[in-house]
Amino acid sequence: MKLKIATLALGTALSFSAQAQTEVQWWHSMTGGLNEWVNDLAKGYNDSQKDFRVVPTYKGNYDESMTTAMAAFRAGNAPHILQVFEVGTATMMAAKGAIKPVGEVMKQAGVPFDPKAYVPAVAGYYTAPNGEMMSFPFNSSTTIFYYNKDAFKAAGLDPNKAPSTWPEVTLAAAKLKASGHKCPYTSSWVSWVHLESFSTWHNTLFATQNNGFGGTGTRLAFNSPLHLRHFDNLANMSKQGLFVYKGRASVAVPSFVSGECAMFTGSSGSYADVSKGAKFAYGLAPLPYYPDVDGAPQNTVIGGASLWVMAGKKPAEYKGVADFFKYLSSPEIQSASHKRTGYLPITMAAYQLTEKSGFYKEKPGTDVAVTQMIRKTTDKSRGIRLGNFVQIRNIIDEETEAIWAGKKGAKEALETAMKRGNEQLEKFEKANK
């Protein structure tokens, strides 16, 4: 009998000490140096207090971790925090029973939380029509322009002046080609750079209902004369060997880093690769635009990911999530992350702190992405939030590849992409009624 009581007491004591620290599971998709960054963030937080312990776990790339979380949710084992890339945003927002809005989490935990402290173009993207912040902005990037200064010099171009408009890019590409360059210009993320960011940059709609912010009845709208003009231009550049297509997603990055391609448009997050690998002088510049378009340049659109809180957890665990988010939003942590990764500082305070530290002067060009984003957004430029966006991007890749292969004209390809993309939107609308 005595022994029984003793074991019982021991058991309760053990379970009590195990419960003293509430565990918060965090699934993410960061690899390499970014994985270390995530682990350091969790470690920094865990060392800073005693009540909660954040456990980061790598769950595959963005597609995979989202699918894994969906399956885990169905089985009742979802994590507390899930990192979801920006194209998954509409899907997550529509899954009302599966997620808990960040605004609500913070409010219930009694943690002060001011969405206005965040960079508008970033926070706006993750905010519901009713003004509630749905997810916590974590790693945000945007589309910028990179160029090889050495190649510019060799082609007789001014290495200190980046082409700021598309006609200038074409001219520079022609000069680079004349000087013997085989790949004057390439791009990663064709849909993100040349349709999504391109649209908001020119304050033009990519899709109806304010790019999907107005509701799920949205349809694609990228067959405007401006979009056609840009793709005609790119098609011509491709035909003349001025624009060389290197593949989907971020496959083109090594072509710039290796020096094969002289100009490149892509994610500001590629800065980490470029600064580490480029053996030539390079420059960062804002995304080019068409100067005769009213309202251009407006602001570019964000990429990257945010942190979603999954539904169905215990209140104490949500308290831990809120506390961790509070830690992540502090300007010091934000600014350090920004300098370390090249992702955007997501609060204004963090931006000011970074500026004060002299980082932008020390590493010129690192502020390009920030200045492109810190602007007052319009209804047309707040961001693009579509259901089934993963498939739509895939469709855009497929159809635009037909342009670069010379099989379809720009108009035909864009209109087919719209038609097929709209089918996806209709499907999403039907499934989420």
């Binding site: 969906m70 949710f73 899907t91 899954a95 085989k182 593949g247 895939n394 890749d397 590849e401 089918e423």
Partner: protein, 296 residues
């Protein structure tokens, strides 16, 4: 005709007990998922499984009116025929040579079998490294020696050639092993008799070895078609991702794209069901018509 000797077991439970492990495996890994696919193909659900609607045959209707899906059938047909025919022909050739080799036979055989140990995804990555436009070893050599610009990112023929090559390379070992075993089970006396009658190697092959190998060839045809339909997914995912455009999206890759990447469970399940039917139909067809031409 010699009388057959048969042994009868009286027990009613013993055969079932002996079959049980296999039955459990088949039902857990085949019948259960297949049944689920069947159920899900009649539903439409959101990614998290929060709302499930029965939609009858809507998923199938959408698929069959989707031109991209129908095109994927054509792509799959071209791809699997190329893989099966090339894979069988090449490995048959290799087996014939390996069978005739006297010195170092073991070394040759081992080398030929090695690719089978390579995972499909690794095989895909290997080939994509060699053929990567402008930086791959092979594409660089092609462009600098004969001025041939290899670009599977934009040229569909190149892309198809790349995945067929990778898929065939991966499967040659398997085919080779069966052909070699088949060759070695042909009595030497038959071939020697033909040789004494003055038949040259080429003639001996076509009139004796090839007909006697027909059961093996038929078996490999079925296996290779199934391989091309299902197991080549990783190769495509590692090389072309279905591009350029949709020109290398075979049926099984589309299931992955829609179901896994797109979260469209209903549509992907409907595709799986159709794929299942296609393979069943193909196998039945092969057994009914082609098998008649096989002499065992």
């Amino acid at each position: 005709m010699a009388a057959e000797k048969r042994v009868f077991f009286q027990s009613t439970w013993l055969p079932w007990a002996l079959l049980a492990p296999q039955l459990v495996i088949v039902s857990v890994f085949f019948f259960w998922p297949a049944g689920q696919a069947l159920v899900q193909s009649l539903q439409e659900q959101d990614a998290f499984g929060l709302s499930v609607n029965w939609v009858g045959l809507d998923n199938f209707k959408t698929l069959l009116s989707d031109s991209a899906y129908l095109e994927s059938f054509k792509t799959t047909a071209v791809f699997s025929i190329l893989v099966a025919v090339l894979g069988i022909a090449l490995s048959l050739g290799l087996a014939v040579f390996a069978d005739r080799i006297v010195r170092g036979a073991l070394a040759y055989r081992t080398m030929l079998i090695v690719p089978y140990a390579v995972a499909p995804a690794v095989a895909g990555v290997l080939w994509v490294f060699m053929f990567s436009p402008s930086i791959g070893v092979v594409s660089y050599a092609l462009s600098h020696s004969i001025g041939f610009e290899w670009n599977h990112l934009l040229n569909s023929t190149h892309a198809m050639a790349l995945i067929v090559t990778a898929a065939v390379w991966k499967q040659i070992s398997y085919n080779f092993l069966f052909f070699l075993a088949g060759m070695q089970s042909i009595p030497k006396s038959l071939i020697e008799a033909a040789a004494m009658d003055g038949a040259r190697p080429w003639r001996r092959f076509w009139t004796i070895q090839f007909p006697l190998l027909s059961p093996t060839t038929f078996f490999l045809l079925v296996i290779n078609m199934v391989y091309a339909f299902f197991d080549t997914f990783a190769i495509i995912d590692a090389t072309t991702h279905g591009g350029p455009g949709r020109d290398t999206v075979i049926l099984v890759y589309k299931v992955y794209q829609d179901g896994f990447k797109g979260g469209d469970i209903g549509g992907a399940a409907a595709q799986s069901v159709i794929l299942m039917l296609v393979v069943v139909a193909m196998t039945v067809f092969q057994f009914r018509y082609i098998e008649k031409k096989v002499n065992y």
